[in-house]
Symmetry: C3
Subunit: 131 residues, 3 copies
């Protein structure tokens, strides 16, 4: 954790999505609540999507952030607002046209039923310790 | 919200999925519980899928509906039944052959940790007000 | 149920993913907690993914298992550990290189808001009864 999965309509172009993901990754990396080695941001293109009144220009970018349980409500609120602010900036032009739906939900996992094996952590922790 | 995400096996064809999505969108649009501008239906094709006894004809169509918290159990039950009924009709032929698994789960979000920016709403609300 | 959805980075190859899914399906089929006809394992390739420190070799394989509510904590723990053990074996070489993040979360559905139509069950139940 954190896992940030984005589902988006097929009428957004890959460059735009890659830039959005880079901005989201930066928010998570800089927040301080998460260990760098645990961050996984990914986007899933949905070639079939039907949005609102089905206007061909309608598009969506839906974020679901899964995090480990135990963070404060204040932490979750700060993280959510930072991710949204980054996307409102990134998609500012789209939000000025009446065809775009941006959203974010945060979901917490259940620690007793969550498992992980992560070989990235030791490398990054060693690098951090060495600086 | 509502967000309806479908994951389906790769052996269903695109035309069939597009038709199913159109029928699901119509159910959500006509129910009355949701604002039109908030509806986002999308399908994710899973090229690798292993179903039941691994018979090559086995297929699945799995719906996950995320909605804002606060609707009554009666509302959720009516919506779920309407979506399922639409798909039981759409996939009637598949359900007569012993290789198809259709499913729906409804999940509610946590309002305090849910954010949205939607530029479609003002357009549709204005159009609605003008009629 | 069970629904096992895997999201994975685009730098894992299809053969490797197919093998992993086969091993996961075998764990679910052999556990005894699930009816064979209900098992659906699928993988979603995420062509855009940003992992940890963004090293090009970084990869992830994230499992989300949705099951019907009502199983004991002991059942869930056993199933989770068995799935993880199978993947730690399957991805043993990757876990020796400092670029791989493997994870599993189990989520339970809400029975009152879960629906299914499954034409596979009668065939497999009949076959089972006939043996």
């Amino acid at each position: 954790m954190p896992h940030l999965t984005i589902e988006h309509s097929g009428n957004l172009d890959d460059t735009d999505i890659a830039g959005a993901c880079a901005a989201l990754h930066a928010v998570l990396a800089q927040d301080g609540a998460f260990e760098l080695g645990a961050i996984r941001v990914r986007a899933v293109r949905c070639d079939i999507s039907l949005v609102a009144d089905l206007h061909a220009d309608n598009a969506f970018f839906a974020m679901l952030l899964r995090i480990g349980a135990g963070r404060s409500d204040g932490d979750k609120d700060r993280i959510g607002q930072a991710l949204m602010a980054a996307m409102q900036l990134h998609f500012a032009m789209r939000l000025q046209v009446p065809h775009f739906a941006l959203s974010l939900d945060i979901v917490e996992n259940t620690p007793a039923f969550s498992w992980k094996s992560n070989s990235i952590h030791p490398r990054l922790r060693a690098a951090k310790g060495a600086t």
